[in-house]
Symmetry: C2
Subunit: 408 residues, 2 copies
């Protein structure tokens, strides 16, 4: 299939490198024979509905490169999840503009959007090539070794815990850092990569892949505090009890749900504050501090993995190649996936949309310690190359204790 008009859009939560994928699509599409125009829809599928298009054929390659290096979704994003009626409206617009190729950069929910649009296009007999381009800091897309955006967010979390550990060592106490991740603990687990010396924090890591029990949590904290005189804890916002009820949701009075039926876990410090109150109240520890990393971990400017940036560019580029060049790997709708081929190298595949859409990957058991509050070396080996070059490092004074004179 060759086509005259390409449309690209960005959905879901922004990442530090999502514009690399956008620019990968635009530059590669502009190189394709027969491509007349490359449009961007502003604010995802909602922009299609509103015919809110930007002509990216008129953008300079220099400015595209600058935008590629800028975090968050340059076209704007949306949380809309199209139903059949929504998709019929989308088709009217696509048809009216003669769009032949639709590239949608997003996560779990966005891949499902692409699947629905693709199905609707087929059902309507409208010739539309739909390709989903992966993106999510949660790293929860199936069929992918990892997803663009995750490595940079993981780097932020690792650096944040490296610093928080140093701060906590200087002024000892208990520190709770709450990390994003509704169902998958990858980002919270990345906190372990901030650890250098054996007694460094995070000393405890709580993942949504394991049931959270408050009495067990308090016992763990007490044990670590007794051993180290301090305790640094990484907690996923998605921790839940045995019934699957999020701990955060048990606290929130007014639960806010988005269009996807997700409870709002981010943008509130409630979970960290509750856990701190429990530690203070139940364990009698005075200096207890909680931080919720919130939007900083996905939008902070100036903390990007170069490996992540490169791969995010490549998935955009590959999406266009799969769509236009056909062959065994392409020539059909699908979702671009990252596959690891060496230590460290990757290649890209085009998976059927049904294989990815709406499915959630969680952390493999091999990545979680049997104790349930730490990660394994397998996880460290998995994550380390993704964090990229130039990771800041922490050093200590060596112990050269001076003999006491007054109280030897």
């Amino acid at each position: 299939m060759t086509g005259g008009k390409v449309l690209v859009a960005q959905g879901g939560g922004p990442t530090a490198v999502i514009n690399q994928s956008l620019v990968g699509v635009v530059l590669e599409a502009r190189r394709q024979r027969g491509v007349e125009l490359v449009y961007g829809a502003r604010h995802g599928v909602r922009g299609i509905l509103n015919e809110d298009f930007v002509d990216l054929t008129q953008e300079t390659s220099h400015n595209l490169e600058l935008v590629a290096g800028t975090p968050s979704s340059a076209l704007g994003s949306t949380r809309d999840k199209p139903d059949v009626a929504y998709c019929q409206e989308i088709f009217k617009v696509l048809q009216a503009h003669g769009i032949s190729h639709f590239f949608y950069i997003g996560g779990n929910d966005s891949s499902d959007t692409v699947r629905i649009v693709s199905e609707q296009a087929r059902a309507a007999g409208y010739p539309l090539r739909c390709v989903h381009i992966p993106k999510t800091i949660d790293n929860d897309l199936v069929g992918n070794d990892h997803t663009p955006g995750f490595p940079s967010a993981a780097r932020f979390v690792a650096q944040a815990f490296s610093g928080a550990n140093l701060d906590n060592a200087a002024l000892p106490g208990v520190y709770v850092g709450v990390v994003m991740g509704r169902h998958a603990g990858f980002l919270t687990a990345a906190s372990a990569l901030g650890k250098k010396f054996a007694d460094d924090g995070p000393h405890l890591i709580y993942l949504p892949e394991r049931t959270f029990e408050l009495p067990k949590f308090l016992a763990d904290v007490k044990a670590m505090y007794t051993r180290h005189g301090r305790c640094v804890i990484a907690v996923s916002e998605g921790i839940h009890d045995a019934s699957g009820q999020p701990i955060a949701a048990q606290l929130a009075k007014d639960l806010e749900h988005d269009a996807h039926g997700n409870v709002q876990l981010s943008g509130s410090g409630a979970l960290a504050d509750l856990l701190c109150e429990e530690i203070k109240g139940q364990l009698g520890i005075k200096r207890v501090r909680g931080d919720t990393f919130g939007y900083l971990q996905r939008s902070f400017i100036g903390c990007v993995s170069d490996v992540d940036a490169r791969e995010a560019r490549e998935v955009g580029e590959k999406a266009v190649q799969f769509a236009f060049q056909g062959g065994a790997a392409g020539g059909r709708d699908g979702s671009v996936a990252i596959q690891r081929t060496g230590t460290y190298s990757v290649d890209y595949a085009l998976l059927p949309l049904e294989a990815v859409a709406g499915k959630t990957r969680t952390m493999e058991d091999a990545f979680i310690s049997p104790c349930g509050t730490d990660v394994t070396d397998a996880f460290r080996l998995y994550l380390r190359p993704l964090l990229g070059s130039g990771m800041p490092d922490a050093f200590r004074l060596r112990p050269n204790a001076v003999a006491k004179v007054l109280r030897p």
Copy 2:
């Protein structure tokens, strides 16, 4: 005065560059004729009380350089504020170890500690040279153009708001970011340096130098949200009502005070959550998110201003030079101060301890816009050189709107 044994310690909240000052003291002291030993006290004045010393004369210069580049207090810190009895205990230890020079790196409260120790030493007839070395992310020491640690924390805050603005532009709503700063708004005001385009956030900045009134706040937010379709807000943790009562303190059920009589404002997300609730409830805006930057802003590893790192090293080095070389500027107890001599260059002075100790600088009126919710260009010119080189920059796609076909 020349002396055989130098003691250095670090007090108060850690910063990203406080170890630069430590290493500045150690390397410069080790170069001084007649200096036999350089000790570090672990965890500030408490380490002196406990005779908990590290012999820094046995540390390699290579490892010292690595530690200098590591955030947080390598010797450990303390919140203790010595009274007379405490100081008498300190003297016993100093005398027993033959300490002749005491260098204490810290902020407001630490400078007061140095003043008390200095007075007690004089009163006790004990020959001790005491020099305070400035450090505080709050930038609230009088007599200083700015304080080491502030520029790196300011850089973090500026980068955080630059990213949060991009995130908020992609998924519009209201974003509240709460920044440290009990009495001085410098760090919160640094959020303005994350702004590039005219419609970028932060759209509103609330400083402790101005009275906070909830109805006015809500009216401001409503106006900005109406104008931009979104609103990014920077709020100091220290905002207070007309009576001086902190807004955060009005909410917290269990107020935690430290040894200095300070209410604990950090380590809790309560203020951000309350403001978000008010915006949701009173203005009926659905997407409202709050982040409390917490400890990330002072301990994040990998976000350092090179200007800050250089100056932090220099204040340590100068402290030793003032103490040992005497002359008109030195040969007495005092507090090292940074003074701006050009755009951009600095020099260092030794101020009397009484001129600095326990005093709090707040933002000059010339730095705050008449409206009270923005900073002036004078502030931008003041802060920009401190942030250092390599500040990440944000770029946008240029507007090349495509004509609508269905609803032209």
